[in-house]
Symmetry: C2
Amino acid sequence: MTQKKTRLRVIPLGGLGEIGKNMTVFEYGNDMVLVDAGIMFPDDDHPGVDLILPDYSYVLRRKDKLRGIIITHGHEDHTGTLPYLLKDLGSAVPVLGTKLTLGLISGKLEEHRIKKHKLREVKAGGHVNLGVFGFDFIPVNHSIPDAVALFIRTPVGNVLHTGDFKFDQTPIDGRLTDYGALAAAGKKGVMLLMSDSTNAESPGITNSEATVGAALRSIFATADQRIIVASFSSHIHRLQQVCDAAVESGRKVVVTGRSMINNTKIARQLGFLEIAEEDLVDAYDMGDLPPERVVVLSTGSQGEPLSALARMANGDHKTVSIEEGDTVVISATPIPGNEKAVSRVINRLSSAGADIKHKGTAPVHVSGHAAAEELKLMLNLVRPRYFVPVHGESRHLRAHAELARATGVAEKDVFVLDNGDCLELTDSGARVSERVESGVVYVDGLSVGDIGKVVLRDRQMLAKDGIATVVIAVDRQNGKPTGEPELVARGIVSGADEAAFFEDARARVAKTLAKTAKEGATDHSVIKNAVRESLSQFIWERTRSRPMIIPVVMEV
Amino acid sequence: MTQKKTRLRVIPLGGLGEIGKNMTVFEYGNDMVLVDAGIMFPDDDHPGVDLILPDYSYVLRRKDKLRGIIITHGHEDHTGTLPYLLKDLGSAVPVLGTKLTLGLISGKLEEHRIKKHKLREVKAGGHVNLGVFGFDFIPVNHSIPDAVALFIRTPVGNVLHTGDFKFDQTPIDGRLTDYGALAAAGKKGVMLLMSDSTNAESPGITNSEATVGAALRSIFATADQRIIVASFSSHIHRLQQVCDAAVESGRKVVVTGRSMINNTKIARQLGFLEIAEEDLVDAYDMGDLPPERVVVLSTGSQGEPLSALARMANGDHKTVSIEEGDTVVISATPIPGNEKAVSRVINRLSSAGADIKHKGTAPVHVSGHAAAEELKLMLNLVRPRYFVPVHGESRHLRAHAELARATGVAEKDVFVLDNGDCLELTDSGARVSERVESGVVYVDGLSVGDIGKVVLRDRQMLAKDGIATVVIAVDRQNGKPTGEPELVARGIVSGADEAAFFEDARARVAKTLAKTAKEGATDHSVIKNAVRESLSQFIWERTRSRPMIIPVVMEV
């Protein structure tokens, strides 16, 4: 498995052609380092799937070479695969990151009861060596504090991996992206830049997080009843601004939703969220305060059906019920695919009498990712020889490639890769040398990887047209059908028509069986096919649907 | 069934709390008129459902009173229920609308093989009497030509129903909303205003359709290969602008997609779309033209999987294959719920090398609905006594109600209704008097109304966790199980684990059967319950999923 000594192999195992499950392998000779280990949340095309992981068998098969896993920031699309990966690796590979990143990871590992681990803190601005690789952690702005880009020294040249970033000129915590470090990297020489493509299609720049604070303050100043703010629980800067606006307007903060409670606790312990104990109120004590003195900080900005906000919208939250005149601020944007769920929650809250402020009606959200002009600035600071757009769907990667060309990167030096593509860099050049094993692993309940494509296709088909199972008893001796066929169906008919439908269907199957018997058919597959066809035809005539039909022949 | 003579009953049967299936009943004494008869397109919560209709049984039960059906414009959320309703009514009730509206309806009725109908053209600016009601058709701007608002004279006072509208100061066809007629209505006195709420949350005004033309011309001027434009096939103004920009840039237009071909044909015949015969090229002759001389006008702006654009994206369109450097313009906005599907198509087109222009990257789309400032202008022109926001989800209706209050309508005179609410107006006032039968009817394939809630719930459950059917043969004589249980499952396991899973599952069921037999159980429901429980437990242990389990006991 040892690679030739003169080659750096860069292999994205996730995050390309998609937003989510970011994971990149850096490999040189006998050393390998993984950058990020994220998950993706499934959409409606994956019924019953809870999580999607990148297929990391490539890493497992080379685990003796794995010197460490570096996590650029604490979002789940960069950290969520860690518990599964660490379990599969068996040994405690070092996990490196900044303080808040490790704080959030540590909570996750606890949930998964992983006790043996080596979390190693590296400060933003700090440095760490892993095998032949050297990593400088460069502070960048993002929608979570303590995020870093990585300047990676390798024997064939330097790589800059931006992580997720934006350039915020007025960040909430005063921690600017380290423009000097990026420029210095450019001066030293960067062979390869891998940069965040999420907003490559958006012209101009992404607004500063501080603009959201102004919007929140103006809403809080005029609201005369309770205020509920839903946001991402990891967006500590946003939570800080909500807390600040609350205190400023004479309100106490109530935190609700499991991840919101966990994350605010961790962030306060580690010094990333500042709010005095006396300004926080337990949800159960909220009743003691008049509504105009309360801000509820809640999960559910994505319309998740079991989240605190969705429960409030449905009127079944334990401690918060929406009153006519309450203000609800959705301080987030729906992740693609969640639009409908978010809209459903907004409609319910609205029906309950709440005044809703969301991105479409007030500037209560900004993105955490750089837009086109910032991406070009990154390219111009770093001046890379080769460019690989990462962290984006195809459309974003291609738009980012176009930006790179506009800043002067030669067309042939831009590589729009797929997950699993191995980019090999040597002193003399770069090329895609091979495609390694990659793909997705589904997590469904507690089982990992058991749901194959067949199961998913079956579920989609069941969802579309339902299922009918028909049971035929045949005489073990002579192979002839005995008695009436049994029929069960789901997702096809219901109500008043059901009885007649079943009776007619059974009659049709019985007729088919009589026919096959007359023709002397005793082969089960012949009987099954005949029954499947006649039942399918019958159901089509009656309902114009084509359910899955499963004939079962039972010897008795 | 005759109502008291002094009361106007206004009953929305669809369109409130939703975007789609618009339908409103106006009833006075022995006369009834229906305004609009639309459908709604189902989302992922309705697997296998093709269309959603409003439940119009209220209309059917009073069909002797029905003097006519007025359609405000030709969009399917205002016309699509007509074929079903007319069939159910049995008699040819007059359908009234403007020329293009009727042209599009006539095509639909033909598809449904409805030959007996009475389509009655009324010109915008014209007037018609139906029973005690008088209707003035007032021209308004919308994303389809020939749209009208209705000024309705009734014995208790005047009603203004806006239909779908915007105020476009530079409409493509020069046909302005008739501000004079609206102001005159306001002067005569409007008891009730019912107004389009779709964009009530959007501040400011909706841009003129003409701004899209400018964007298209600038894209067409710089594209050096083939251009494909996807849009709504009913958006004739948009199609006109595409045709104009094409001709101006020396390109021919190829029309593809069934509804696009049908609608351009109807619009040209009726004089709503102007393009010379020589500027249109058949898709099969496109190969004769160099790519830089072609614009393809296509369906599929909503990411519909079988549409022309989706086929191009997947590389299986009959006549158009995407080449590196082609330009694709998505001149539409995704209807809520379609975002993911549209994004999927964009990603595929992008992978194939196309340069994609969409709403997020270029001003290639504007809405057809009035934004907040226009809605307030409508309220100020009409100065109604009572106000009912229509055509919108709860959030939109409530936002519109707020706008009405801002223009001076008293809080108690604003009625935010649900579908089925009956608003009764008399000389002395307005009140919600009752709730009539209303709801949804699902169309699945060719069957109407057969899919009940049970079927939908079953399908959702099947989609989530799959299904297992277990068949147990029992001896007809002594009720004891005979032989091995049979098990079929879909959507639970697949691949290598399948055989072992089934073997173990059968063994578990056999063990349960042995136990029930030992306990002397012969009652089928007892056996079924025991089997269901043990199998459910087994599957949970193995897969952490809870599929639907259907035990079948078969007497042999």
